[in-house]
Amino acid sequence: MNRLMERYLRRDALPTLFCPGCGNGIVQYAAIAAIDNLGIRPDTACVSGIGCSSWIPCYFNMDVMHTTHGRALAFAQGLKLAQPDKKVLVFTGDGDCLAIGGNHLLHACKRNIDITVILVNNHIYGMTGGQKSPATPESAVTKTSPWGAYDEPIQGAETAMSLGATYVARWTTAHPVQLQKSIEAGIKHKGFSLIEVISQCPTQSGKSVYGSKDPAFIMNYLKESSYVYKEGMDEPQGKIKCGVLIHDNDRSEYIERMEARMNQFRSAKPVKVKNSKEIENTRSVER
């Protein structure tokens, strides 16, 4: 077994439940390599929702919370507010984050709370048997779109940018080193950071989106059909836009704003509140 993963994974829970060739294992390695590189293992807490991709942190031998469907970001915000010194990593999928958890994504982005979200986008609901997800590309034949999907897919990274996230990057599983560096930058970044990973699901999206169940073929396709975005370049049409899309350090962070507001009240003269003993005394006098 790999020496790095051996130190970070729970041996009793292995092997993972992922199908052969699943992209989640690649994201798992990238996240662990980033945590190991930064040396923040005791300060890290991972949160995940429901879905294949939400099983990624469940094998980590560190603080992990496996929560309800779509609400991973809500739980993560609560955890961050309760323990602001923790680095919170959220692992969600496209169905978890963009469909049922879209509301929480909106508010977390707008608040600019210091959380790192890794959105593993495999274009389909993999665990439940290949239903159409909000990120499924057009004309993909899935279990719930037998005549081909006709919705325009939701782009996770662009959605987060428009909602006000301050660090947004997109990579595919064919870019493992860049993905690791982006996760490191996202953890270091003070504010909401979202890293979208286009991942392969050889079992379900291999059948309905890519037309081949061979994971190596899908990864090669992802590598060839993507380009790395740099500012001011001519953008080719019909290709996956990869790279760091936005990195903004100017917006204030939610917990800083909250602390500043609380300090206004702390510095003000405290209002005298009667404690229970005094209330009892007044009652006895009244009697």
């Binding site: 790999n2 994974l9 092997p15 052969p20 690649i26 994971p215 190596a216």
Partner: protein, 69 residues
């Protein structure tokens, strides 16, 4: 270079065969615990330790160790 592949973790997805830039891997007759054919490092001396197979193995089965001379 010493390449070891754990047969209790390998699921036989053959990503390592496709991504290796030096074509170090080949399919062997050994079977992993899932019953599918396992890859094998047939040209270990060609390995340049880029560690792409380590990174892209979804099941953390591959370990590449550099031998110090």
């Amino acid at each position: 270079m010493k390449i070891s592949i754990d047969n209790s973790f390998c699921k036989g997805c053959e990503i390592c065969l496709a991504v290796c830039p030096k074509n170090v891997y080949g399919i062997s007759k050994k079977r992993n615990s899932y019953g599918s054919a396992m890859p094998e490092a047939i040209m270990e001396s060609e390995c340049i330790a880029c560690r792409l197979c380590e990174r892209l193995c979804p099941d953390a089965a591959i370990n590449v160790e550099e031998e110090r001379k």
